[in-house]
Symmetry: C2
Subunit: 230 residues, 2 copies
């Protein structure tokens, strides 16, 4: 169960790009009106249709935003990391309702700020609004890209694209550490675990990748992989 902590949250505020340009005094002021909440793994922060008027800031852990279709299939929309915020819909519109589900995918601590408090800060420090706007604009771009991918790229190209965005290099080996289970990856890429699994097998058979463990995949030739996908 979520538990509330009413101690100092300056860390939380200091962490967030939308606030971290403020000076200590200003941040302290904002921290006053934030309250911290803890969630355990798999706990829901809110669900579709919930009425809410708070801004959520991730302090620690990770949160998954997803949506459900009529038929019950999930589409993961994004994963939030420490410093990210959400709930802007609720905050910017009077009478805001959540349009998605949010779930903690690990032990997570977040800060909540109520609309009425945030509104004051927005008036007093216009830079905050500028930064929120900048963040949301970036997300809009990402979301539009995701739409295009899910709609017109075949699954294999989506997987390759995802891999290429998560490569890490280590002493002439290129590999990817999957940041989530294949089950969740499937809902993120708009497909099913089975299809993900099959595509990985196919890529491995063709000598393009090698699966070391469930989460760690070696890529033999990234350029060739990207070439294959187009």
């Amino acid at each position: 169960m979520a538990y509330h902590n009413h101690h100092s949250h300056a860390d939380c505020i200091r962490l967030v790009p939308i606030f971290n340009h403020l000076n200590d005094e200003q941040m302290h002021l904002i921290a006053q009106s934030a309250n911290e909440v803890q969630y355990v793994k798999n706990e829901l922060l809110f669900r579709f249709g919930d009425k809410d008027d708070t801004l959520y800031i991730i302090n620690n852990g990770r949160v998954r935003i997803y949506s459900l279709s009529e038929s019950g299939r999930e589409q993961t929309i994004r994963i939030l990391h420490p410093g990210d915020f959400m709930g802007e819909v609720a905050v910017l519109q009077t009478e805001g309702y959540h349009s998605n589900y949010a779930e903690a995918i690990s032990e997570t601590s977040i800060c909540r700020i109520h609309k009425k408090d945030l509104d004051q800060y927005l008036d007093r420090y216009p830079e905050i609004m500028r930064r929120i706007l900048s963040d949301i604009t970036k997300r809009l771009q990402l979301s539009e890209k995701q739409t295009v991918q899910v709609s017109i790229e075949p699954v294999e190209a989506r997987i390759i694209d995802f891999l290429s965005e998560n490569v890490e290099d280590e002493k002439n080996h290129t590999y990817v550490t999957l940041p989530m289970s294949k089950k969740d990856l499937a809902t993120y890429l708009g497909t099913t675990p089975e299809t993900i699994s099959r595509k990985f097998s196919s890529l491995e058979e063709r000598g393009l990748i090698k699966r070391h463990t469930q989460k760690c995949i070696e890529i033999f030739d990234l350029d060739e992989l990207l070439f294959v996908s187009s």
Copy 2:
């Protein structure tokens, strides 16, 4: 070819929700720094990768924003109508590049405002930024919805959903006037013209709709239609 008109554009500014809360004098000031450009049907306003630092406001006509996949397939992202704006990516980030294509789908006149001018107005009238933020937030919601639909709802459900969002009522007849060609509708719904055509035929055979002209479709029972799609 686009031609420039340097006369008064107060109309243009007055039209736009992000500015229309200002008084006459303020709007006049902004209109000073806007310049009007005309485009003919099918003319490109900008393309992916173009560097740009202007905000575009639709004065008249319609503009289609779309994206191209590796394989050359198009995905229509949205259609802009008079009063809508675009180019926020360019305006909010220094060094902004367009991430999509924009095409006039009818004779279109737009107003352009340069970043350096807009920035002044944003500082002077914070309400403008609030409204831009509100608009972009709504678009983000729509974009996320589009992602989910395209990825997990079958084509028929997407079509029905689209129809239901575009119904007009007129003396106990419910009908829809398609705001774009079926070709473009197909790229909007993430499918092909052939599939769109087949689904419409199927819906007509089942007595749910009737095609009067290419653009005008009568809906016999909206509730039943929505029921069928779930």
